[in-house]
């Protein structure tokens, strides 16, 4: 049987890749996809713990994370479209609307 730490290692790796994506990319859509990747990495460890603890609570939590992720994508993409309509760019280093 594949042990728990193998799943946790993969989950940690995916999360770190997501963090690197958020920290280094300029395109706001790719940053958003990296956030999705981080949410999925956490989901993977939820399901792995659920399997190894013989408890279904982890799988139920994955449902809730998916709900929040779906809501987040709907609102986030609406914000990106509104942003693109106003400033004609999706690159975060060209955005300085909040600067005084």
């Amino acid at each position: 049987m594949v042990p728990l730490w193998a799943y946790l290692l993969l989950s940690g790796f995916l999360f770190i890749v997501g963090v690197v994506g958020v920290a280094t990319r300029r395109n706001v859509l790719i940053i958003f996809m990296s956030i999705e990747l981080m949410l999925n990495a956490v989901n993977l460890s939820f399901v792995a713990f659920s399997r190894f603890l013989h408890s279904l609570d982890g799988q139920v939590f994955v449902f809730f994370v998916m709900t929040v992720a779906a809501a987040e994508v709907a609102v986030g993409l609406a914000i990106i479209i509104a942003l693109f309509r106003n400033v004609e760019t999706v690159y975060v280093d060209e955005l300085h609307l909040l600067k005084g």
Partner: protein, 171 residues
């Protein structure tokens, strides 16, 4: 056999995730993310979470990523002219130190010797007899009934918020 499947899916997921971050064109990034999500669905099946696996594929690959691709194509983005991932030396050193610290913490905290504590009643054999979907539903609609109902509020507010944000304001 399980190790072979796990390693295949894990390598696929990891490589596709890396490719997603390294791609210049957002459409390719989205396609790589879809590949990661499919590999992750396979891992869920390997973990005997069949319901979650299929909900995951349907919601993420089916709904969320289609929405992403739709927006990317709507905005008609060009590939970035700068190559992604330009690092300076301080950033690389700092990142490696932090990554090493995180890995050490992981190895200490959840390494092979981890003590998981008490187990619940839902082991693989029980789930095989009772059915994964039935048991998840039983937990979802009994123990987590109120949080489940509250998620409808999240979805409603997200729907209203998206409509308000995407609406063209009258000049």
């Amino acid at each position: 056999m399980e190790w072979v499947l796990f390693l295949t899916l894990a390598l696929l997921a990891g490589a596709a995730a890396l490719a997603m971050v390294l791609q210049r064109h957002p459409v390719y990034s989205a396609l790589c993310l879809i590949l990661t999500l499919f590999a992750q669905g396979g891992l869920y099946i390997l973990l005997h979470a069949q319901l979650i696996a299929f909900v995951h594929i349907i919601v993420y690959a089916g709904a969320i990523m289609v929405l992403f691709l739709f927006v990317i194509m709507l905005l008609d983005l060009r590939p970035e002219e700068h190559p992604p991932l330009q690092f300076n030396r301080i950033g690389v050193v700092l990142g490696l130190v932090l990554a090493g610290a995180l890995l050490a913490e992981l190895a200490l905290g959840v390494g092979p010797q981890i003590n998981l504590g008490p187990r619940g009643p839902h082991d693989v054999e029980t789930l095989r007899i009772l059915g994964n979907t039935q048991e998840v539903a039983r937990v979802l609609f009994r123990k987590y009934l109120i949080p489940f109902e509250l998620t409808s509020l999240i979805l409603l507010s997200a729907m209203v918020g998206a409509l308000v944000l995407a609406k063209r304001r009258p000049e």
